[in-house]
Symmetry: C2
């Protein structure tokens, strides 16, 4: 690190950097790359990467950790609407530390700063990232690696869905399916932090009581299997207000069961379709109950609100929840970058049952 | 009429009305009534009605015409969410002439004025209606009987759906299914008046070219059968912008075909479900195309906006369209009040294929 520091002094003084610095770094730089869409286990290869010095407005980041999100898998398969031009480095978020600072970035950043990229689809599955200084956000030390690496997708998705689709007041109820998903875990915790009551639907499974305990420890008010939802009298009993918001990442019959409990005039937000079945909405629910059905896609929101006050307020509030232990990282497993195939395979096989995030570990 | 005029003079002077006026009117007053929900042909009976003199703030209306809407049938069957207390007089809209004016109403109304009731579910299938003066709207003479009788449901539904769910500009496209319905015919004409281009989907039928001609004469830009929509290249060819609004009264596969053509971020408004199949929405349409699905129910809108500026602006604009021949009455058939069973039977058997409104004729 000492030599890097000297190098950035060189840069700041506008001098030429000695050649041996390049060689030293380049030998360690590697990236995952795919040149065609297809089976991630086939098309993604680990290859050497070239390191460049930061321009005046740039910083060079050495990655610490980057998660494998289901959307990354779909992107590599060519099944996702955002299709990066090929060849492409996968990966949509992550955390790293700054190892070089461009001259114009030195007021805001220093070597060793822990930062996250603010743009989507930069390709975080590589050891180093060169980014414009306006595309990175410095994090407080207290944010843990797994929290930082997974900050910009799931917690932001949960935050926006709870904030933008209903005027929720403390004491109001939110219902969600796929509650054990990484996003669902964030929904539970943000609901708790905001005084909202969450009703959480999960599929039945062998370890159901363990899963229920885990979600209740996160702050879930109720955790029900699909069968229990169908036969429950939670809302009729008066224990809870009818939900004013439903978050759906499953679709099919499960979503239908959820929407049946919604209060008149409420909204169901769809952000996933794990059952691979369409949403089926009875006409009467639209006309007479005035239910509304919308979708949410974090990628679009980020694109539309890249430099907005809303975005920085959201990131600031989420980071504050993380440092005050109100928002834990999702259940996860760190996997060495070299063992990336294991992370891909596990995510491919997950099918929403395990609810564990696999995070590439570069250290 | 002369005697009635004398009577209202009596009333205005606060004097007692001679008994013989009551007897004269009561002998002609009749109403349709049902005392239990069920088959309209069984439970609806024509019975004598009692006439009362208007209170100071009231007017007495002699009905001229009142339509049989599909929702009236469903209400009588007990299948509709608004359940009037029984016994009830059916009928949700109509036009009449004022035959008595309460003292406090005489500045605004005179005998002979043609008026429509402004409230829903008043029970218009009767020869006379006694209403508070604030619940009636006086119409210009130029509005025809069939237009006036059907003003508050279908034209208002079409108006609000085109106004409240998308920021449409002249040249923008609207797609609707069930385009031959009474509401669909209003949608076509209001689109033409506002410079919107309408793509109208109808089911194939023996007289399809006749129906297409009729709708194109009303102002439809395109009329397609479901099959033609599936194979058309209207939107790909660049002839038309992609629709920014879809109006759905069918559901099922037809609605799915319509939503496939919508521009990103657009809304489908459901106001009926003639196919009796739910709306089936692919997850990707919600998440990646950002399509929104809402419902519209005129009864709720009217209740929520009874005395609003929006409501009177809408009625005023619709009446103006009618007097300037921009908005025709829907295809209809007048049926004598005494033959009400024929109107009920025809509406029951219609199943959306004929697209003709049956209007009870009291004259």
């Amino acid at each position: 690190m000492a030599s890097l520091h000297i190098k950035s002094l060189f840069l700041n003084m506008g001098k030429t950097v000695p050649k041996n610095f390049e060689r030293f770094n380049s030998s360690t730089a590697r990236k995952l790359l795919y040149t065609e869409y297809g089976d991630p286990l086939e098309v993604v290869k680990l290859v050497p990467a070239e390191l460049k010095e930061p321009q005046s407005d740039e910083v060079l980041i050495q990655l610490i950790a980057a998660p494998v999100n289901p959307a990354d898998i779909n992107t590599i398969q060519g099944k996702y609407p955002s299709k990066p031009p090929l060849p492409a480095v996968p990966g949509n978020e992550g955390v790293g530390k700054i190892i070089r600072v461009g001259a114009n970035a030195s007021k805001e950043f220093a070597e060793g700063d822990r930062v996250i990229p603010l743009s989507s689809n930069l390709g975080t599955w590589q050891t180093h990232l060169l980014l414009p200084k306006d595309c990175v956000l410095k994090l407080p030390r207290k944010v843990q690696t797994a929290q930082a690496a997974t900050l910009t997708v799931n917690p932001c998705t949960a935050f926006r869905m709870l904030r933008d689709f209903a005027d929720l007041q403390p004491g109001d109820t939110v219902i969600q399916n796929g509650a054990n998903s990484a996003c669902g875990q964030n929904v539970i915790q943000i609901c708790r932090a905001w005084g909202l009551r969450s009703v959480n639907i999960v599929r039945n499974r062998p370890n159901i009581s363990e899963l229920k305990q885990y979600l209740i420890k996160l702050g879930a008010n109720y955790v029900l299997t699909e069968e229990e939802l169908r036969t429950n009298d939670l809302f009729k009993s008066g224990l809870l207000h009818k939900p004013k918001l439903a978050l759906n990442c499953v679709g099919g019959k499960n979503a239908l069961e959820c929407l049946r409990h919604l209060d008149n005039g409420s909204t169901m937000v769809t952000y996933g379709g794990m059952s691979r079945e369409p949403l089926s909405i009875p006409t009467a629910a639209l006309i007479f109950k005035d239910l509304k059905f919308k979708g949410f896609w974090m990628t679009r929101w980020t694109k539309d609100n890249f430099n907005s006050v809303d975005r920085f307020e959201m990131l600031s509030e989420l980071i504050s929840m993380m440092t005050s232990n109100e928002l834990e990282a999702p259940a996860h497993m760190m996997i060495k970058f070299d063992d990336y195939k294991e992370a891909l395979k596990n995510t491919l096989n997950m099918q929403g049952m395990i609810g564990k995030k696999f995070i590439l570990d570069f250290e």
